[in-house]
Assembly symmetry: C2
Homo-oligomer: 446 residues x 2
């Protein structure tokens, strides 16, 4: 521990992506180099930085001895590079870079959610292949803390805090853009369009905001978390997914009247006493006394329900330069210390089974043009589909155009609710798409 | 990775304390042994369990091959034991057991908050001594995840999530008993005595509840967290500490009127732009839109403010058999995997300095018998002590005996507020002790 820096072994990094996150990683490595040597008993050097445009101005200093390159092979084929850090994004070139680096025996640190969600089983198979002839000391490692919820250490938590535990449910606010929008639509009564414009202006929206507002970004994260929590590989399009595009001012008014708010949640749960895992991404009614109700703005949060720890919540920044860089740094330091994660995605559990349906209390909002006989007809449609109505709310009618009911159902299955809503959409007094969303927690207690 | 169990190296545990937590650890090790072998490439065996009374009935099965003993030396002097798990508690025998085990080259896992808070610098020196002649591969390790906030992985977080970051503030609800009581006093308008009786009945109170209600348990935890977050060793009695014993129904009424609630918080903060660390344990006014305001019952929570991650919150169980056992298991598995924590308490930072004072907005509650001239006199006392009044609240007077003002001050120092309260206590119309508490966050922004 008292060795001077020059005597320490060197760990050589090659970083792909020299703009936002890459720059953050370089800055932290430079400013903390002494501490990192003390912690890891090694010297961590950024040897090569691979960028798209050599001439682009950067807002960080290139460390001494670091070469800026534009050819992927300059890093992948460099036998001196021990660890590859992939923060370039995308699933084409990035995939190539990650796979070839692993095959070349380099440890990989990545922040690439899309890559992992799309190729999780393939990466797992590749890791097995790469490590088949290696001792556990020399095993190639794959780390991706920054890939899900940027600054929240949820991956490492799933890989270590819960090894002795059994997770029964995960529920998360795992898309910053939509949480920012929903917070503004609730607290500031902003319109959907204004909220989206502000989120985009502040850099919270993905290049294609459909991924955010359609719930697809959250779905990718949920898929990865489900593998870690339950050992199950689900293809993304099997997860029932609904975005926030259909929410209106009226829904927030009803949510407030019911004593809560609306959050876009990714939820996965083991049905009690079974090996069945259900999941959804959906706007969700959350009561105001739930921890997750207070998670505002672009903040992310995940609650894990488990047998030993009962309820554990992690709240923090889901994206951004330094939160993401910080998580990559944690992976790099952990690798440099020689810590092992023998199973990159936790053990696969072939006993559990995904069911593309779930039970919950549901909120249903119905737009209507005229009153006569409506209540009876709604009752009939619900009864026919085995949905029992718990309560019915109606705000004072301010305009004939804008009239709406809200129903809270007793516990019902998603499939029945979908049938109810489809039937309601066809009745002649219906003045707009019927919206449904699950109610957090209540729903899931058995 | 494909080796059968019999070919794997064995890691032998000796556990001190075979009642609640010890039993939980044994149960988890037994039920998860196959997974743990897969993760660690080793077989983890409980070789000896040291208990006070051999004949006491236990609610868990003693694993095959495990010997139950009563003599400490049966474990400490057993050269076959690799890892000692100390969950017996206390600071006398437990200290002896931990120190001798470390000296004998055994890794130690402990859940003992009191031991660490009292002997942190001594343990650090001992670790240096023990590891002086060892290579980093053979270094003796000391783990204590369960010692602060039971099931919340805050120690590991402080040791790994923030290595590349700079923490500027930690604030936590770090005593379950008092949070349970304050929740009941707020939501259910329970009296202090009823709330304490219920907390004791449910097992949330320490054997001596003074440690809880006086803020001393929270102070021990804050001291440990301060070392991890800021690298500073503070002696506990230097931390300004106030318990919840003086809170009345009136304070909760005013808190509600102000739009928030009261939590017993442990807070430590680096004064912006300086190397000065201030800290307190105190009932604290928390606005209802703060994440920590929603943390109810015996739940614990810690919010960390830092340069990279901005705000990170961890919410979970602070105590209990399985939450605590789960954290010990995480330490055991991490040791068995060969993960290293080269610095048991993070780097000590000799540049930072503790200041036993802090600035905040404050809430002051004043009991009075009679109105004439009171407002002017309060104004005079505040002015004389450089405390500026931001606002003054008074509920409708329901009884002459029970009349109270509440003042919110502008930013002031703790020392000035103490002087104001001492002077108020001496005026002739004062009808009871004046209570003050800081306001979370607002106070601390500079």
């Amino acid at each position: 521990m008292t060795a001077s820096n020059s005597e320490l072994p060197t760990i050589r990094l090659g970083i792909f992506g020299g703009v936002t996150v890459g720059g953050g990683i370089v800055e932290i490595l430079t400013s903390k180099s002494e501490l990192f040597s003390q912690l890891t008993n090694a010297k961590i050097e950024v040897r090569k930085l691979c960028v798209r445009d050599l001439n682009k101005e950067r807002d960080f200093a290139i460390p001494e001895g670091c070469i800026v390159v534009t050819e992927y092979d300059d890093i992948m084929k460099d036998e001196d590079i021990d660890v590859v850090v992939e923060v370039m994004g995308g699933t084409t070139d990035a995939k190539d870079v990650v796979y070839k680096s692993l095959k070349a025996g380099k440890d990989v640190v990545t922040a690439n959610k899309a890559l992992i969600a799309a190729y999780l089983p393939e990466i797992e198979a590749l890791m097995k292949e790469v490590n088949a002839d290696r001792s556990s000391e020399n095993a190639v490692e794959f780390r991706y803390e920054a890939a899900v919820c940027g600054g929240i250490p949820i991956i490492r938590s799933m890989q270590s805090d819960f090894v002795g535990d059994e997770i029964t449910m995960i529920s998360g606010i795992i898309n910053g853009c939509t949480n920012f929008m929903l917070t503004a639509m609730d607290a500031k009564e902003q319109s959907y369009d204004d909220a989206l414009a502000e989120a985009a202006r502040l850099g919270y929206a993905e290049a294609d905001p459909t991924l955010d507002v359609g719930g697809f970004d959250a779905r990718s994260k949920l898929k990865i978390l489900m593998r870690l929590a339950f050992g199950i590989d689900v293809s993304e399009d099997e997860i029932s997914t609904k975005g926030i595009t259909d929410l209106t001012k009226t829904d927030f008014e009803y949510a407030k009247r019911l004593g809560g708010t609306i959050k876009l949640m990714g939820v996965a749960k083991r049905k009690a006493g079974t090996n069945k895992i259900a999941a959804f991404v959906s706007p969700t009614y959350v009561k105001s006394d739930e921890t997750l109700a207070a998670v505002c703005g672009a903040t992310n949060a995940i609650e894990v329900i488990s047998n030993n720890l009962l309820s554990s919540s992690y709240i923090g920044q889901g994206a951004g330069r330094f939160p993401t860089a910080n998580s990559c740094i944690n992976d790099i330091i952990s690798l440099a210390k020689g810590d092992k994660t023998p199973l990159p995605f936790n053990v696969k559990n072939n006993d559990v089974q995904f069911v593309n349906d779930y039970e919950s209390l549901f909120y249903i909002r119905i737009m209507y043009k005229d009153m006569l006989g409506i209540t009876k007809q709604i009752g009939d449609i619900c009864e026919r589909n085995n949905v029992s109505i718990h309560s019915l709310l109606q705000n004072p009618i301010s305009s004939r155009q804008d009239s709406a009911f809200a129903i809270i159902t007793d516990k019902a299955s998603l499939s029945s609710i979908k049938k109810v809503c489809a039937e309601l959409d066809c009745v002649d007094w219906c003045a707009g798409s019927t919206l449904f969303m699950p109610v957090l927690h209540d729903s899931w207690t058995e």
